[in-house]
Symmetry: C2
DNA sequence: GTTAGCACTCGACATGATAGAGTGCTAACA
DNA sequence: TGTTAGCACTCTATCATGTCGAGTGCTAAC
């Protein structure tokens, strides 16, 4: 793969990203001054096609990058543009207003990202299974009914109602709460184990029933945690502006897919080690979104991945800008919120 | 307006709802046996057109109901079909599984409704401003940080973090909580008044600061409540199957509008007295959804409206079925959950 | 190795012809 | 007087046809 072929491939990709029209040899020779005539470019393009990097929608149309072509572009040609700076500025400006809630900032960032890239943004917050318990408290709401309040590190709150024996008093609950707090505070959810929990509380005979209920509740929280990642989506409609989504049926299928958590989860699967993962078309492994690409950035805190930010767009998306933006966004967030989820 | 004209108008509406194609005189005379020839029907249709109840997309096309036509149909002709029974069965069957959370049932019902009618369903839960406070508790999370847990009648829970002086102990918070509970429990949010609150707590000097924060928080809750209705949406993509929404731009505008709370709020505005409100096309007062109609049902508990369930579809929607379904749904919900929100 | 030139292919678009659905009007009928 | 059959007319949808232009591949010359 000589340097001229690379330049031509890059030209095809860039022009197609810009115009969404198949790009011909003449266009390239005129617009991107490679110093050779269109005929030469034609020859090279024939080679590129043979290599599977570009393809023709039909004879006598221009060329369009194949998925392999995008792949090559992303891996070897794409310049981490100076958009980076601009993005940096924009994002940190947007995040300036720090007095808002953490959740709101994340949402706003996603919205911003979606607007700028004209793609759909996804955020997956892995439940902090590694987070420690900060506070566990049982409150008497009315006779026979208690509320269990759980506060996790990172200010995550969960509430669950509990049925309890009517005879239980506020003081009983207080006792159980104190006991649980004493034993569980600072422990990570991952480290909870039913058997362990049970031994801890075996001498609380009078409050036996409450303890049982509470433990049941806690176990089910453990179960839910594993499945129930929090997924936020923004800009779901953005892609409708793209010329490749002018067909309503296509749109319907796509949007429908994006409403399904499993689909999003799979899309957002990414190697936790690398910073940014780009999946092009079929690489997503999902037929429903075969005309789309996904860019996923891990969002780390203290070196540990706690969530992911993703960008979903047409295969013909502006990878350079998207990657830049996403990178910047993840970094900025990490710097701004080193100790929050 | 003689009975034959009515029958013809009804035929036009029904046929157009079914086929989405302009309906001609011949079709009517063949399909709906009114005992007269197509020529007669033509004459009648000319009259109906003059009256503004039907219109022609262009010369030599069939007729299509105008908005006024739909209105007339809904007001005078529409039969509350026997779908009612079927719906009843279906809905109560779906709601059988009562052990789920209240919120889930509502969601499921909406999903069902959306599927069956192929429309978008909306649910607005007016915040229970009339609900009474059940429990208010301050919990010490860590030094300098407290969590305020509020439980309202109807099992609504709210959590808010509060910054407090580091010197505050668990016992201080317990004292404030007890005080607040004692004074506020059973009171309706509407009845809280800052001035009143302040006099109650004026002798808690040591905890002054916490009380202040808490009161601030409570006030802001009051403010939020007024604006922040909870709105749920389901089947947002359903309308894409309708032939009138084959144009992507139209779809984009529409879906975008439906993402905006204000739009939904306005759409769902309805006379609280009457059970069901039907707004056809321009009657919604919103240009963004001018090709849509909205049917809103009030959802009452103990005779008081606590929420609304709505159905958004194309003007050419099946009003009879929709109204039946919605009616049944609201009734079933009321019966099933007389004392929950 | 590069380029100019040329024949060829194919889609986009405009044009025109045709069929069919539906109307309005008129005259005849009960 | 209301109803109906018949007919001319209108308009759209559809298909075949022709033309244009963009783009290609190939060949021969540089």
């Amino acid at each position: 793969m000589d340097s001229r072929k690379q330049k031509i491939l890059e030209a095809v990709v860039l022009d197609y990203i810009e115009t969404a029209e198949p790009v011909g040899s003449r266009t390239i020779s005129k617009k991107y001054n490679l110093g050779v005539s269109s005929a030469t470019i034609r020859n090279e393009m024939a080679d590129l096609e043979e290599m599977g990097l570009i393809e023709q929608p039909h004879t006598s149309a221009g060329r369009v990058p194949s998925e392999a072509g995008y792949r090559y572009y992303v891996d070897y040609l794409m310049a981490q543009s100076d958009i980076q700076q601009e993005a940096q500025q924009m994002i940190s400006h947007a995040l300036q207003d720090k007095q808002q809630k953490v959740g709101d900032v994340l949402r706003d960032s996603m919205k911003l990202l979606a607007e700028v890239t004209n793609c759909t943004t996804v955020m997956v917050l892995d439940e902090n299974r590694g987070a420690a318990l900060q506070l566990l408290q049982l409150l008497l709401v009315e006779p026979g009914k208690a509320l269990m309040v759980i506060v996790m590190e990172g200010d995550k709150i969960e509430n669950h109602f509990l049925e309890i024996p009517k005879s239980m008093t506020k003081e009983d609950l207080e006792l159980v709460s104190a006991m649980m707090n004493q034993n569980l505070r600072g422990l990570k959810v991952d480290d909870w184990q039913r058997s362990m929990l049970e031994t801890i509380f075996q001498d609380l005979t009078r409050q036996r029933q409450v303890v049982d209920r509470a433990l049941e509740m806690l176990s089910s929280i453990l179960d839910i945690r594993n499945k129930d990642k929090k997924i936020y989506l923004d800009g779901g409609l953005n892609m409708l502006s793209q010329p490749e989504f002018q067909d309503v049926n296509k749109v319907k299928t796509l949007l429908h897919s994006l409403e399904q958590q499993e689909v999003l989860s799979q899309l957002m699967e990414a190697d936790n080690e690398t910073g940014i993962t780009v999946k092009i078309g079929a690489e997503t492994g999902l037929d429903e979104v075969k005309d789309c690409s996904v860019i996923v950035a891990n969002y780390k805190v203290k070196g540990k991945t706690v969530g992911k930010v993703g960008l979903i767009g047409p295969t013909r998306m502006d990878y350079a800008t998207a990657v830049s933006m996403l990178n910047t966004m993840a970094q900025t967030l990490e710097e701004a919120y080193p100790d929050k989820e």
